[in-house]
Point group: D3
Chain length 145, copies 6
Amino acid sequence: MKDVSQKPDSLRKARATATLHAPASCIDLLRSGETEKGDPLKTARVAGILAAKRTDELIPLCHPLPIHRADISYELAQTHVRVIAEVQTIGPTGVEMEALVAASMAALTLYDMLKPYAEPEDLHIEDCRLERKIGGKSHFRRQLA
Amino acid sequence: MKDVSQKPDSLRKARATATLHAPASCIDLLRSGETEKGDPLKTARVAGILAAKRTDELIPLCHPLPIHRADISYELAQTHVRVIAEVQTIGPTGVEMEALVAASMAALTLYDMLKPYAEPEDLHIEDCRLERKIGGKSHFRRQLA
Amino acid sequence: MKDVSQKPDSLRKARATATLHAPASCIDLLRSGETEKGDPLKTARVAGILAAKRTDELIPLCHPLPIHRADISYELAQTHVRVIAEVQTIGPTGVEMEALVAASMAALTLYDMLKPYAEPEDLHIEDCRLERKIGGKSHFRRQLA
Amino acid sequence: MKDVSQKPDSLRKARATATLHAPASCIDLLRSGETEKGDPLKTARVAGILAAKRTDELIPLCHPLPIHRADISYELAQTHVRVIAEVQTIGPTGVEMEALVAASMAALTLYDMLKPYAEPEDLHIEDCRLERKIGGKSHFRRQLA
Amino acid sequence: MKDVSQKPDSLRKARATATLHAPASCIDLLRSGETEKGDPLKTARVAGILAAKRTDELIPLCHPLPIHRADISYELAQTHVRVIAEVQTIGPTGVEMEALVAASMAALTLYDMLKPYAEPEDLHIEDCRLERKIGGKSHFRRQLA
Amino acid sequence: MKDVSQKPDSLRKARATATLHAPASCIDLLRSGETEKGDPLKTARVAGILAAKRTDELIPLCHPLPIHRADISYELAQTHVRVIAEVQTIGPTGVEMEALVAASMAALTLYDMLKPYAEPEDLHIEDCRLERKIGGKSHFRRQLA
């Protein structure tokens, strides 16, 4: 794990996304919030936030950081749901991995809760990526086509 | 968390994948195993195996299961690496989520170790899905085109 | 940690409760599900289920058990909410502590989410107890007055 | 998880309590420290301190904080024991939940170790509440009757 | 992580030790149980038992096992303390690593609590090893000289 | 857990070691990196780094610290391997325990991966100690003979 003790603390934000593709009937279940395992969007939000805080336990070379904000939001389309994770800290290194872990874990939690309602081949997660990063030596904003 | 106490124990296997896309120079780094953070493929294998064992802590409605086997392998192409996670148990419910969590976490660990060598827009994870599931009420094998 | 290897596996269930007292306006927030931190009842359900699965990490002399079911429900009154945790396993020892930990953690999660809306002296948790236990050497059912 | 990155770091302390009611013979066991599972008061102190440090993993919307002090003390009466948890940090948000989690987990650990010596209906935890909070936008001290 | 799903469950026990060397004045503190951080022997017992249960999170290729018993005992000499960890399960693979992890973590906890009373060069842990293993394909008992 | 809120943050480093003794054939396996469980040196490095970050969960009276660097290196001899853990933080208290935990867990991970290739009596860990500590009220450097 690299030495970050010489790097100054700065405000750092990151936004990452992951998109779960599922049959339209599954997306309807996300809207209604009623599955046999509970409310998927609200449960996945909790899973994503908790995962963000444990990133340094999951990704071996990540530094522990004082997470100052973490949240999950969703964009629902007809046959997919886009999970958006936003994480913020004041620290010596960025929260990109925290945002990516949060988005992935929230998407996988949705997967788990929709699993009884779909065939495995109809559920898959795509386009898990960093969308925006602020702070540190460089800023980055993805160019949307 | 649903009641599985009436379901009989059976041998259950699952195989899941996730594909990290990255510049060719990054894939070369995976081959050489030499990045400033260490050997990515071997580190990500450990991260994936550890994550499989903690799935019930990460995915809220998953049951704890005695994981009998978990492993990570890789298929390297020119501009992507396919992570394959295989998990096995003898238990009352399947290990699909364990395999998906393992593949995702291994792919994210690779991402973290390649991050210093690529622009954020050039790194993304695609096609995270269940490939095969054996045991329980139904068997499933993805039809390859 | 006592030796339970000679004890036979049996179906074991436990039900525990904890009651959070709060101003009526806070109980209304539980009903609407809208606080600045999110939906309290649904978030606390997740917290309780996750805590049940980690009981052996939190209560030092508890044995790890394959939790087969864990769930949280609520009874809302005018100035309190009763949290009910139900846990089930097939194992050599009971899940009383799992149910008590789940009820406590769910009640504390509600507390955390209602905290911005109440004075500290108006929030307190009472009557955290085991209500029912089935399996093992003795059955127990609390006599309701 | 709310954004606390604009809030200044300040010294913050919190004191919380939880009271375990148990038969007098059980309270005697706490005094002697000799149960079949070990010394309850000393074991519960460790459980409470460890739980304080893991509060952000247990209570989903809590921020991780650098805990600077955490301790557990006890007041023994004839048929109950009052657990007092004190937690301290220098951080952007308070440690109320850390103190409440520590008091609850210590009380539940006592419960677990006394369980073999009492009927379930004779063990219950009451009056789990915040007693004092220092730092942040407001100070609070419970008025004792 | 190797596949153990074809291996039959059997009763398995392991005993491991680790010896902390420390000045005689420190060993006296262990006897009295009074250090500024609390009672070392009782605290280290809890740390060792908890570590045994988390072995599969700490040692990457270890399988999760239903720990049926774990305990720590001590042999105090003039300038050292021998930590003995005993762990038991009924499972498809042994608990050697669980016993070694428990002994090591208990010894390190003693180290941490005696640290304020000794120079670093006077504290060291030696002879961390497996002493006895029962169950599985072979039994093993260390020949004492 | 002692109060460190009045202690100033300073740069703190610690180096600890642990030595695993094993048959020469096992040390050769470390060099080749090829065992049935994977590459021991690389796996143990990950285990050590992860353990350093979780020290406050494992050693009850340790404070959580923002680990700024953690790494593991090795010195291979004919019949032993010396594990060296280096940890760094900027904080109010030192990282001695983090370094000792990292060295111990890395050594135990090597033990676990070599276990299939040696008799238990031929594997043991010695000389687990702090070698160097910088920062805080006193500096310390072990005098090498």
